[in-house]
Assembly symmetry: C2
Homo-oligomer: 191 residues x 2
DNA sequence: TCCTATTAGTATTGAGTCGATACCATTAGG
DNA sequence: CCTAATGGTATCGACTCAATACTAATAGGA
């Protein structure tokens, strides 16, 4: 006996359908869905996490695929690669001015606008529920959460003024603006 | 000046990431994501809506693509096609016993299980918010909602006992069990 | 200091999606 | 009847993505 159309099944179906809709919508401005995701990631990730390897883990793809997409974005002049001096295997990625500008026409913005009209309470419920769903599913696959720096167990709020924050894992000072960036190494604080 | 990381942006990013995760997870049992969606659709759709054309509209793809996927499913013995006698252009689709059985191993079930552990209130908030998001985005693209029969403006609850329901659009009687099925023609009742 | 294992990234190949187009058969509407 | 319009199929090409094999740089021992 199956439980047809349980609330949970319905929610799962909704998420899958919306995901499909977002993905077909993301064929825009000459870019493909994965390329938009890469642009968004590079816009939100902190400086330690703007590498092909981190992006690969974020997207859950293989590195070959990601390398290809990054080449396309570089050829379009949206992303720059810079060899890391401390580790010359790795390349530091960043958005060009053109890449930044293109994000203003991100096809996801229409959806963001719709979500923006929700009241605060549904917004918070959605955020909490979707976050716990994502974290749980990622955890089951042994993948990192890519949460915000400020929610990390290595995040030290040491100097309220001056040099406000510090990463205890990488041993680096963090600017105020970096606290909200997403990080490859992020390990969520225990409650 | 962009509004980085607004709550709405965060929610949109979560949905897109979960969508991507579900899609990579749906490479299972020798099927592909779109094929799983087709199986689920055929399991939930009412008898008027189990056609390639309706599935095409549901998925938002082109009919060629859907035809191909259905051929694959038919070749695997998961789906049956039957020519409609009233309109011999169209074919009626249905799951075979093997197809039904395979749905028990649907990779989406893991996610359903996680969602099932939410409390009732977050579940209802999620449902409402995601439904309105989906409806709004579908509407903007001129696509049908594919809602449940019972929420349709053509749904008549005429005979509480006996032959309980009736579709005023198609002029057909509806069994009790069909009221919760999703329908191609569904047009949501105004509030 | 080697020597090996690991890691970052690239290149290539092949299966498969998806959109576009063209096409056939059936039905609907003047 | 004749001409759309509709349901479905077949084929082609661009592209994704996984898999594999590869190069270069680094890390960690003995």
């Amino acid at each position: 006996m199956e439980m047809k159309n349980s609330p949970a099944q319905h929610i799962a179906a909704l998420i899958e359908r919306i995901g499909r809709l977002l993905s077909t919508e993301a064929h825009a401005e000459g870019l493909l869905p994965v390329q938009w995701e890469a642009l968004r990631y590079l816009d939100k990730a902190n400086r330690f996490s703007r590498t092909a390897a981190a992006l690969t883990a974020y997207l859950g793809l293989t590195k070959g695929t990601v390398s290809q997409s990054l080449n396309t974005l570089e050829a379009k002049g949206l992303v720059k690669k810079l060899v890391n001096r401390k580790d010359r295997r790795s390349k530091h990625l960043s958005l060009t001015a053109k890449g930044q500008k293109l994000l203003l026409r991100d096809p996801l913005n229409v959806t963001v606008a719709v979500l923006d009209e929700l009241e605060g309470v549904p917004q918070r419920t959605l955020t909490t529920a979707l976050e716990s769903l994502l974290t749980s599913r990622l955890g089951a696959q042994g993948r990192q959460p890519f949460g915000q720096c400020r929610d990390c167990c290595y995040f030290a709020n040491r100097h309220p003024k001056g040099n406000p924050h510090y990463c205890q894992l990488l041993g680096e000072k963090l600017a105020e603006s970096e606290a909200a960036a997403i990080c490859f190494e992020q390990t969520t604080k225990r409650a």
